[in-house]
Amino acid sequence: MGELRLMKGNEAIAEAAIRAGCDAYFGYPITPQSEIMEYLAAEQTHKRTGMVFLQAESEIAAINMVYGAAGTGKKVMTSSSSPGISLKQEGISYIAGAELPCLIVNVVRGGPGLGTIQPSQADYFQATKGGGHGDYHLLVLAPASVQEMADFVRLGFELAFKYRNPTMILSDGMIGQMMEKVELFDAQPRAKEFDQSWVITGTPPDRKKNVITSLDLDPADMERHNLVLLEKYRRMQKEEVRYEEIECEDAEYFFVAFGSSARICQKAVSIARGEGIKAGLIRPITLFPFPTGVISERAGQAKGMLTVELNTGQMVEDVRLAVNGKIKVAFHGRMGGMLPSPDELVNALKEKIIES
């Protein structure tokens, strides 16, 4: 068994990054994720593992430091919260276009604009549909516990390097700030070898120069690059879908929710079951690639689905695409840092699905 600790979600991310052999972190303070950089600074990562920690002058600078460092083949990450992630979008697009691996953490807060520092899931569209300009996708992982905050750092890096694609951990202020027991995985060493087929480390005599770029002015070449990316996203959709099913075997009514919403839904499932309603929960863990298959399958046995999100209705669009009109899909959302109670969700299930 790994080391057990009581930690904040944000701290778990930071500790997991060090243990995952992360080489460099570049970030800029923003609530509610600043503990990530404060933890790394306090740990003196340069002494502990040699990991670089640098507070940049802006989110824009931070993501471009990530772009440069990721180009050298090192394991690099940044973290921020919604307004800061918006600022990073240009850089994220370049990273996706240049096919660089990195980890980006978004501890989401409410918006639009400066919004609130309270938890929200309003960045679902931004995270899963691209976010910046051009055709691209991030691998998006949605933790629902402090344990997953830690575990998804390692998984996020693995996936990022497997596909040479940025991974985003889409968390929120609730999971970032709350404390839970977490079992930490053992520290792994930082990498010493780098894939010389693409990294920029200076050109040794035995290979040609490598160039990190997302630019191609030849239309045919650019289209070819878009198709390469598309093929990669399809491979992710085939191989990387992750989800959790709770009480789904005999369920007639389904909650579909990710992250912190899913935790509240889990309680709602048990309340509903206590009232004789056969409820279940499908929790997408990868938001891209989205678990379309399982939702489509479960629609065959379901009488209705209620998507619960901390926003005005974003993932529900993907749920409806998966269900494809077979059954009713309703939505229940809260905004601005307001959270639904489990009872509120059971009532919403009754009103919007069972009794409608």
Partner: protein
């Protein structure tokens, strides 16, 4: 005598550095970019550090610098080259890292990244080509466009009351404790080319000292953007750019040069 009789080892007086590719330059005839590219590649070849050099190309005319320089390079988002260089250098502190940027890239959209990389004293080299205009997008006003200078977005000349003053970025970064070597050079004459090359060599040597950032401004012409013949543009540069952007070292070994 035929050409083949002349092409002999003993007659060789000049050859192109191997670190410049044979790709046809996309720069306009008369432009200074190609010369600066050559100087950088010659320095890298002479120092024999190709296996340890990483360059960063900007957005602007020199966006394709990586096609002409035969070394590992990254192409940065507009203005972000100093941040990209910071990320690389922090991960590989013993490598040589340089950015190659124009005035719009470095002194407008990338001002924050430039100032902060300089202020942190990143052990990198910034090569800053200042021609007072946005060349690639068709000759719009740059932060360094001179007072009264005509561009496509200042067709009646830059009015400083409305559009601000030309930004003396190089003097500005020289004030920061993180810069180690700051100089302003040109490449329109052989003597200036030699001085620029010497400055580049000094900047690269300085990276080994880990004492801070080296910043080399090269005042250059943009005959296309200025709507002049190359020779006229060089003359115009001498008469108009140099009085404002005076050539010479501004900071050497961390000390401001007294003038």
């Amino acid at each position: 005598m035929e050409a083949k009789d002349i092409i002999k080892e003993e007659n060789l007086v000049y050859s192109k550095t191997k670190l410049l590719t044979d790709k046809v330059l996309t720069y306009c005839p008369g432009c200074g970019h190609g010369v600066v590219h050559r100087m950088i590649m010659e320095v890298i070849e002479e120092m024999d550090i190709r296996q340890d050099v990483i360059g960063i190309s900007p957005v602007g005319c020199s966006v394709f610098a990586y096609d002409f320089m035969d070394i590992d390079m990254a192409e940065a988002a507009h203005g972000r080259a100093p941040a990209v260089a910071t990320g690389i250098k922090r991960c590989w502190p013993d490598k040589y890292v340089f950015t190659y940027q124009g005035d719009g890239d470095l002194a407008a959209i990338g001002t924050a990244e430039t100032i902060h990389a300089c202020n942190r004293g990143e052990n990198i080299t910034i090569i800053f080509i200042n021609n007072g205009i946005y060349g690639m997008t068709g000759g719009q006003m740059a932060p360094t466009t001179l007072k009264g200078m005509q561009t496509s977005t200042t067709p009646f000349g830059r009015e400083v009351e409305l559009m601000g003053n030309p930004l003396m970025m190089t003097e500005l970064v020289a004030q920061l404790p993180g810069t180690w070597f700051v100089t302003r050079q040109a490449v329109h004459k052989a003597v200036n080319v030699r001085r620029t090359k010497k400055a580049i060599r000094k900047a690269f040597e300085s990276q080994k000292l880990k004492k801070g950032l080296s910043f080399i401004e090269v005042v250059s012409n943009c005959n296309s953007g200025w709507k002049m013949k190359p020779v006229d543009s060089n003359k115009w540069m001498e008469e108009n750019m140099f009085p404002f952007y005076s050539l010479g070292d501004i900071k050497v070994d961390g000390e401001l040069v007294q003038k």
